[in-house]
Subunit: 270 residues, 2 copies
């Protein structure tokens, strides 16, 4: 397979017939929340077959270790608030490597269809006439609720759940606060650490109960996962009291299933 | 490992000391949307090590084929509107097998924390003093948006996305229709086929634009996946015109990335 691919690349370059060679689709792959065992089998196969893996900084070392030995790893360092590679440069990298006939994996933390800026990259490929493919991943919200022994939805409590971001292009993201403030709402808040005080203020202003549970899950699914049980009233103090360096998800409307009351909650299968 | 487990079971049974044996946690596993390659590695390991796999009818044959040869498969046939095993019976099965010291996998379609009635089963285990563990899975919404080349969220379009169910305990599920009817909302609707006309009526009544795109994805991720591009106005007619026998997800607010305009959209990686 690899031989065949190299052969094709060489042939097409030699003859200058790039169009004659079916280019490999750029594969957008969700890396999941961090635990390498939460990769999908499809993602694992893509990592093992890739020639180039263009990855965000949030992708864990354990996941990157599963790449095939032939794969070149390119860190494009996208991370909230830190130094990052400009989006246009990432778009150009995807195009450059795909045009070389290489198997390109664009590896994004979590599920690439959720707050992953996937569309910008797809559009750059489309403009270049290049094919793509999307492999969904486990998003942080799924891992976080599993980590606290809860569901995102529950019969009799909520027939809907929401995912929101604390930040968008304009700064703190505006949301339908009135709807979110209603009793029984469950919302997974991505990138909510720095926006926590803003979110708290908006929700209280729109009538949310101060004792609404909010659970902070840092490094969901990883060995260093931390769970902080709080309330809407106490959220800023909870966050101020801890140095949270890893990615954190806020679960608004959910408390951890009480480990004190239910000591049988198993954290890990052996 | 298996020997050790059998030894423990036999010893404890022989001595009548069930409490002396650490019971295996019941493992709630998300089976993903159907493509066996969209199982997580962790789910695959759980299936291969299980003594008993208690599964819903929606779990695909390809996924069940990955079970270890020692595993006993128990079909509890939960399926919308069809004959099904009463919830209390499923709860009792989990408890019965776990008490026997067996490795029990409770396998649910998609992600078990989303519309999976997980809490009822967890509470039955807690009452019995039995441990549990949750392995998240790829939910249908993630697979469906990937299948139409879109994201659930997109910078500049929506800073939030929602998952809702068409049905709850009382019949057609009530939702915050006013919020959902707003321009730019993106919502993944589970179990929405039979409720489609109800949902359409509520949304139009609350001011949603009739030309809001709605995409129906049947059998997301499976070989027989079908994508029907429609609009809020045409949704009932679109559904009436097709015999949809598989699980279908409605993506409200999203149209497929246009394959006609962009023939390079790759459906599959090789």
């Amino acid at each position: 397979m690899v031989l065949q691919r190299i052969f094709r690349t060489v042939t097409s370059r030699a003859k200058g017939h790039r169009d004659a060679m079916p280019l490999m689709p750029v594969c957008f792959v969700g890396a999941g929340p961090g635990d390498p065992d939460l990769l999908t089998i499809k993602a694992l196969k893509a990592l093992q077959e890739a020639d180039v893996i263009i990855h965000d900084r949030l992708v864990s070392a354990g996941v990157l270790a599963l790449a095939g030995h032939q794969a070149r790893l390119v860190d494009v360092g996208k991370e909230g608030f830190g130094p990052s590679t400009p989006q246009a440069h990432i778009d150009a990298l995807n195009v450059k490597y795909a045009r070389q006939g290489l198997r390109v994996v664009r590896l994004k933390g979590g599920d690439c269809t959720i707050f992953g800026r996937l569309d910008e990259e797809i559009e750059a490929l489309e403009e270049a006439g290049l094919p793509f493919h999307i492999v969904p991943g486990i998003t942080a919200a799924s891992a976080a609720v599993a980590g606290i022994g809860q569901s995102l939805t529950r019969r009799g409590r909520n027939a809907s759940a929401r995912i929101i971001t604390g930040h968008d292009m304009k700064g703190f993201a505006d949301q339908d606060w009135r709807a979110l403030a209603q009793h029984g709402e469950v919302t997974a808040i991505y990138m909510g650490k720095k926006a926590a005080r803003f979110i708290q203020g908006r929700l209280l202003m729109h009538g949310a109960a101060p004792d609404t549970p909010v659970t902070v899950v840092e490094n969901a699914s990883r060995g260093d996962q931390r769970v902080l049980a709080s309330t809407l009233a106490d959220l800023p103090a909870t966050l101020d009291a801890q140095a949270l360096n890893g990615p954190a998800l806020l679960l608004y409307g959910l408390a951890p299933r009480d480990v004190a009351d239910h000591p049988v909650l198993a954290r890990e299968v052996s």
